[in-house]
Amino acid sequence: MINKIWGFFIIVGILFTIFFGNVSELNDTILNSATNGVGMVMDLLPIIVLWAGIMKIAEASGILVKIGNIVKPLLSKLFPSLKKDSKALGYITSNICANALGLGSAATPFGLKAMESMQKENKKKDEASDAMITFLVLNTSGVTIVPTTVIALRMMHKSANPEEIIITSILATVCASIAGLTLDYIRRKRKEK
């Protein structure tokens, strides 16, 4: 997928410019893109490093477990097919909380473990279970409280308030999550009939 899109951008972009555009500009674009890329990495570097340090402290303090205990009863309502004390629910909670805190690299192993334990309770091994779909809808529309990369790039482009998009992101995410979970619920019920 990513290979096709990457190729599409380059091939279509170059052909279109050669036939309808400015070729000397194209040379500049190609040669400058690496410099732009390095610039972007350098813009991201300070905030990512700083935030990784802070999040490591959060991880070491056991905050994730603490927040998980609060969130778990709420999450269990979304997964009627999972038992309240099931391992899967614990992993789902950890994954969602880690994602919310922006601990992407910590979230993925929890997510994979959650899928694994839901697969154990799954009757058709090649088909996604209800719980898996609900989990993935929640995961992919899930909130990150502090979107560090966005804030870093806004800061480097001299935004007056780099952090002002936190609230708008959270509000938009809540809409997306509710819409996704509702559609999932409707389609699950329709199947049961």
């Binding site: 899109i5 972009g13 490591k56 090649d126 898996m132 992101s169």
Partner: protein
């Protein structure tokens, strides 16, 4: 609203450091350890950022989109919606780096505090790489019948994008 946004990072840092301090975590050493991991993360994403900026610059600078959508672009301009948001919304579920590169381009051309700059920031912050995550998670347990997972996930993304537009219009 924007005052609330201003408080989130300071309160978050305060809470984390205070909580860890009380739990007697070696906070300074732990910070260094995490920062080192952050450095490695940046090192790992370096090549993919170069690759994506390269491809996306070629595509956006070809002005193909402007030509293709020249009929409807006055309409889009009327509702304050520059064309570059379209490829961003399109690649967002597939590649976080690609959409980040387009967002960066939008910041360069329109500024982060423009309407489209704020919209791009909100879209990047509120949705995830749905297609990539689904492929990774279902692939790990060898599930090929994914039922309504993909369409529901993409529907949520679409609602997220529409909601971003509405929320940014209302708040700023």
């Amino acid at each position: 609203m924007s005052n609330l946004s201003k408080l989130i990072i300071p309160l978050f840092v305060l809470f984390v450091v205070f909580y860890a301090f009380r739990k007697k975590v070696m906070i300074y050493d732990t910070f260094l350890e995490g920062a080192k991991e952050g450095l490695i993360t940046v090192f790992h994403i370096f090549p993919s950022i170069i690759a994506m900026v390269f491809a996306i610059n070629i595509f956006l600078n070809s002005h193909l989109l402007e030509t293709m959508f020249s009929v409807i672009s006055p309409l889009l301009e009327k509702i304050n919606l520059p064309l570059n948001i379209l490829p961003m919304a399109f690649v967002r579920p597939i590649s976080g780096t690609a959409s980040l590169a387009i967002m960066n381009d939008i910041f360069t051309n329109f500024g982060p505090d423009s309407f489209v700059g704020r919209l791009a920031s909100t879209i990047q912050g509120c949705t995830d790489t749905t297609i990539y995550v689904l492929a990774l998670y279902f692939g790990s347990i060898k599930i090929n019948k994914t039922r309504h997972a993909l369409s529901t996930g993409l529907f949520a993304d679409l609602i997220g994008i529409i909601a971003s537009f509405i929320v940014v219009s209302l708040i700023f």
